[in-house]
Subunit: 328 residues, 2 copies
């Protein structure tokens, strides 16, 4: 009996979930739900129905775990509590500052519905969070560093696109190698925003647009670019499509810390991701947590969880005896 996964929202992440289900032999894609006209939505998997999002409650019995693939700004704060009352759910809510509030809403809904929900799965929040927690628990006397990239930031790309005269844009966040090396050395450097990351922008300008004005507006944009060393490259639409269509990302979680009765020994814990496809990797993490949610629901648990609450063995299709024999 395979785990029947539903996808709620069919964009980049939804397609990633479809691929991840395909890679996990104990899972099957049960249905896709969309706010568009279902007849216009072509999915990759043959024979799987596409329904309208409004009809989701009439398919409660067909889905073991529903994966919510909407955005964190406006979709998930509404959708996850709404669906957690009726389905076991996983989302990738990634507005770090609003996680406690989101958790409370989802926890209430899931408990009322007798369901299990897991929020903020992915890599940050997600695998990076796990590595922050493990490293802090193991080295209480230390310092944390998270670097992102090299990778495409959708938020920063969107911010550039909103500038007058810009047709399209792609922004890469790039960790500064010198800062990484300083952190790895164990010297516990205090690093400014500017010292940790640079921002590289590839911009397609409208014909006749004032490029120096666009470049100035980008570099001086508060919050997004003003605190960084930013490079702006103007390229053609063809170059953007050819060289910058992918969504790579990744980064580093590093903790350095001291042990010994007199803090005489230094240690470095470093976790690195290098991802060709940010949405597909995020989806792969979500799929593993969907397995855990399915098992917890079977075991009678209810309420909201995060990656911090899930015993690692629950993520693997292998049983405990096999895991101990092959991976411990």
């Amino acid at each position: 009996m395979k785990i029947r996964v539903g996808i709620f929202g069919y964009g980049n992440l939804g397609r990633g979930i479809e691929c991840a289900v395909n890679h996990n032999e104990d899972m099957t894609l049960a249905a896709v739900f969309t706010r568009r006209n279902p007849e216009t939505v072509k999915i990759l998997t043959e024979g799987v129905p596409v329904y309208h999002a409004d009809d989701v409650l009439s398919h409660k019995d067909e889905i073991d775990v529903m994966v919510l693939c909407g955005g964190s700004a406006t979709d998930l704060p509404v959708q996850t509590p709404m669906l957690a009352a009726h389905f076991n759910v996983v989302d990738s809510f990634d507005t770090h500052a609003k996680i406690p509030e989101h958790f409370d809403h989802v926890d209430k809904a899931a408990k009322e519905g007798g369901k299990v929900a897991l929020i903020s799965a992915g890599w940050d929040p997600g695998m990076f969070s796990l590595n922050r927690l493990y490293a802090n628990a193991v080295l209480p006397n230390g310092a944390d560093y998270t670097f992102w990239g090299k990778g495409v930031s959708q938020g920063h790309s969107d911010a550039i696109r909103r500038i007058d005269g810009v047709l399209d844009a792609r922004q890469y966040t790039v960790p500064v190698e010198r800062a990484l090396e300083a952190v790895r050395s164990g010297s516990n450097p205090v690093l400014t925003t500017r010292e940790k990351h640079t921002r590289e922008c590839y911009v397609v300008a409208k014909e006749g647009a004032d490029r120096s004005r666009i470049e100035k507006e980008i570099k001086e944009m508060p919050n997004y670019f003003a605190d960084y060393d930013t490079t702006v490259h103007f390229i053609t639409e063809e170059e953007l499509q050819k060289n910058h269509a992918a969504l790579p990302h990744g980064g580093f979680v590093i903790r350095t810390g001291k042990t010994g009765f007199h803090n005489e020994h230094n240690h470095l814990i470093e976790y690195r991701l290098k991802l060709d496809s940010n949405p597909e990797f995020t989806a792969s993490v979500i799929a593993a947590y969907a397995r855990a949610v399915y098992r917890l629901a079977k075991a009678g648990e209810v309420g909201c969880k995060t990656v911090f609450d899930i015993a690692p063995a629950l993520l693997s299709p292998l049983d405990g005896e096999t895991l101990r024999r092959t991976m411990l």
Copy 2:
């Protein structure tokens, strides 16, 4: 009310546990147990009693979690089941091939005694195992690589010391940078033992000993050295004490894998440890798992666990709300 930790066996690892307890504000060292004459054992912490190992059962009420610090070859297979019947325990049993058998013995004893036991805590087995499991769950279509070092292998150092004419020795296991780079490239290389690690030996020979015979015996020693490119340096006892007294170690757990409906995207997950003190870092991991064992025992659980069974949140002194707000 602090977690009262007992140390059973006071060598390098036992001293590491003492230091780790000192770094965790919710823990206190309750007692040290030794097979030596307790009066001859000086520990670092003032005011903590040292008892003879034979008297351990008369101190059951003083210890919340006992950490076993003996060796995996002969100590732990006997001691962990014996003590798990009377105490909540953590050990660092690291003979990978015998973990299933050890698990069964400890599980039986802990269940009979109504106690919680956690075996094979440390970094390999331990943090490396966790990273193998997480990475496999997230990237089902991929390949695993573990590299060790640069670090001192006690087993290999001991093997050299058993050669006739050798006074002392230190052996470093060194990962081959070229192999690491090949793995990181995502090319899924098939690597021989020789291609992954080299072995560097620092040997103090007895006066008049035949150095070329010693070097030959090292390089041709089956299992330990014959399958590796090995370098042998003869040094003085003073040089060994001055430059090779520390016990650094570390390594890399890497998984590369593919996602996408047609496996079109590559991903790299890399976990790295660089440790000044192998025993102190191992002890730091054990201390975090002692906290989890204490909590599980309070919650009424019994039986043997491994790192795979422990939800990450149980390792941290922070509560769930704080963890979600600060680390997720």
